[in-house]
């Protein structure tokens, strides 16, 4: 079937089978280098991409579901300014994910940052620094990736630090 979607800022028209998973479309058809995982739906969590600004397991998304969707992979994300916040947080804590899950974990953290900072401010709620982080939700999101290289306490710390950087950057831009 023919599917039109937006991947990494490019509007594409793809001819693929309707049930082909997004992970395979990205790897096989588009030659995306940032994605290497294929667990056949076992939810290893290394194939995370942002679908309409939310972290999602691309091996569980069939081709027909991406029609008209905006997909962002780590390949384009790593060139963005938002990535610097997370990269700095990794540096500040002195730990970072292993090469196998680095891309996926970074995208999950980005999704959490957008959720924790952006959404609340849009609704006129207090700024994220004044709001207590919803740790349970963060743990749930971070559990999307099952790689064994990092502990949850460390990941939460990275999210908190990255959120601090993100908010500071936003305040500077606004002022």
């Amino acid at each position: 079937m023919k599917i039109e979607c937006n991947i990494d800022g490019k509007a594409l028209s793809l001819s693929v089978n309707s049930n082909k998973p997004l992970s395979l479309i990205l790897m096989e058809d588009l030659g995306n280098q940032s994605l290497t995982s294929y667990c056949r739906g076992n939810a290893c969590g290394n194939c995370i991409v942002m679908v309409n600004d939310e972290a999602a397991l691309s091996c569980l998304i069939p081709a027909f579901r991406i029609r008209g969707a905006k997909i962002r992979t780590f390949e384009s994300y790593q060139r963005s300014r938002q990535y610097r916040d997370i990269e700095r947080a990794y540096k500040a804590t002195g730990t970072k994910p292993c090469p196998a899950c680095y891309n996926a974990r970074t995208l999950i953290i980005e999704s959490i940052l957008q959720d924790q900072s952006g959404a609340k401010q849009q609704n006129g709620a207090p700024a994220a620094k004044d709001v207590k982080l919803d740790k349970e939700k963060i743990i749930r999101e971070l559990s999307l990736n099952t790689c064994q290289c990092m502990d949850m306490a460390e990941l939460i710390q990275i999210v908190e630090i990255a959120l601090g950087y993100r908010n500071r950057r936003r305040r500077v831009r606004r002022s």
């Binding site: 509007a11 594409l12 001819s15 089978n17 790897m27 096989e28 995982s37 002195g94 196998a100 502990d151």
Partner: protein
Amino acid sequence: MTEKRPPTPKLGTLTGLIVRTTVAGAKIRHITLPTLDNRFTVVGTRDIGGTNRVKAMVNSMPLFTSSAVSYKGQPVLAIFGPDSESIELAAREVVIEYEAEEGQEGGGATPYTWAFGSLEEATAVEGVQSIERTYRYGKLDTVNSTLSRISAQLIGGDLHITLPTQWPHHVRETVAEVTGHPKKRIFVHCESFHAPHDEMLLTPSLLAAVAALGSLKSGTAAQLFCVISSRRPELTIKRKSWYTADGRVHGERIEAEVDQGAALLFSDEMANHLAAGLTPIYDLEALSISITFTTSAKEPAHFHGDLGYSDAQACTEAHYNTITKLTGYNPLTWRLKFLTDGGNHAIKTEKSAKLKEILEDVSERSGFLRKRAAYEMQAHMKVKLSTFLNYSRGAAIACAPGISGFSSECRQMVQQAVQITLNPNNKVEVNTSLPASGSSAEVWKQIIKEELAIDRGDITFIEDCSRVIDSGPVVLSVAIGRMPQQIKRACALIKEKRFVQPLPICESVLSPRQSSAGGALFTSNTWVAIALELQIDAILLQPVIRSVWATIAMSKAPNEEIVRNKAHQSIVRALREAGGVLSYTSNFTIDIKIVSEGEQLPSSISSAVRAAVNSAFQSAVEQALGSAVTRFPIDGNVLLSAIRGKS
């Protein structure tokens, strides 16, 4: 404007699928292939132009089988077609008929022995007691989901192979031997990879040979998409120790059995690594080790992050923790009393004074003595925590020396080289087949920068695969253990000739053989001490790690941030693989302290970290349950049987 994309990135590239056996210990009677059109190419044993073997040092295993089936999942043939869906459909129609074949299992080889002192004399001491335990290190359920692409393409008589691999020269040799294609016309292009369990050591060579056969037969480019995983050898260690009431261990007899699956690969070297781990670092009069390798109808198992050193070392530390308990000592005091400089005859280590210091440091930081005493006391309380458990907390301490690279006894592995060239205008070119990216490469650059006083930006790695020299397989932490020594030596040789000879100056350094002074198999200048505290969840029956403290002593930390990150990752991975659940609470910490003294380049810490973490975890679970745990990894069944055993 909408950009149109073709369904596949390269038109005309054939995609392959390997058809594997579905049974083990049988014989193939007949293979029926479906009728396929000219878009498909089938590759089997008849298409092999060279030999049907994949070699690894002195041992080998078959590429395809057409008669005897050694294990379930053994490759039989490969089908190449236009896309992955059509070949999957074609593969479903392949019918393989088997006939039963008996008496395949249990093939063994001559045991490897390692001994010092006289056991008879050592155990004839008055008042000697003995303890005998069997430890089992079994299958590890590690899920690898990295989809690797292995492709082969014939361009003007040159065969270009693109794949992720830990040993590019092995790929080249295997492809040449299997296909019969001239070796000098095979070019291997390496892609980046992450292989914490050495998945990319031999399997990529096997897959490359299949892809090359497909490409040569069809005359077009061929590729395989595969999830590559490795199997851990199953290890059974039976130890009998003779000790006296004063805590001294006089003698020990160890019988280890290793199940390597269908093929015995790297067995000689694995025996050396196991012997190094099984030999205690404590005062011991006599020791006898016997290691037997057996085959079974399972997938071949060899490297799995290391060659069994960490499992063997973990077993030793856990066993000695049990002895300290039996003799009424606490593990720290016992270690401080019985650690000796000439303890481990298999590893030439640094002075034990340093280890004693870091053991005391880690114990103080963790409050180990207080916690251990409290948990021991509470375990004997009458009020029970739950139906199953009296009190479910445990604390343990363990230590290990870090080793890296192949042993001094390993003669089969050809010496691997690295070449450094100082070009005019102070540009440095490094020639090695090891991956030129990642934290290891950063350490190499740092060494070159310091030794030759040049900018980091002026250091480049040769990327042209036809010019790259063989630096051996990237296993056993050679990239951080052996390689910096070679680079430092090459830099020293260049420094001697600099300003004397005209540029360019080129120096090659072969891998140094491990020093075999005093019959030691390995040399180590790093120590790792770990203290760990855990709690058994009374409802879920899971060991929840509360905190971990680590002190690492090394001669010179090349980059403290990298060492800390690596140690952290190794601790978390080891704990998860051992069956531990890391606490989500904010109190949970992994506190790592690095003590670096001296100017020597350190050996690797990852094997030592893994060993110390595993033994501390095992001993802490034993304390929490109050009964012996001798099976690894620890899951719900192991815990339940330990609790039942106690009752």
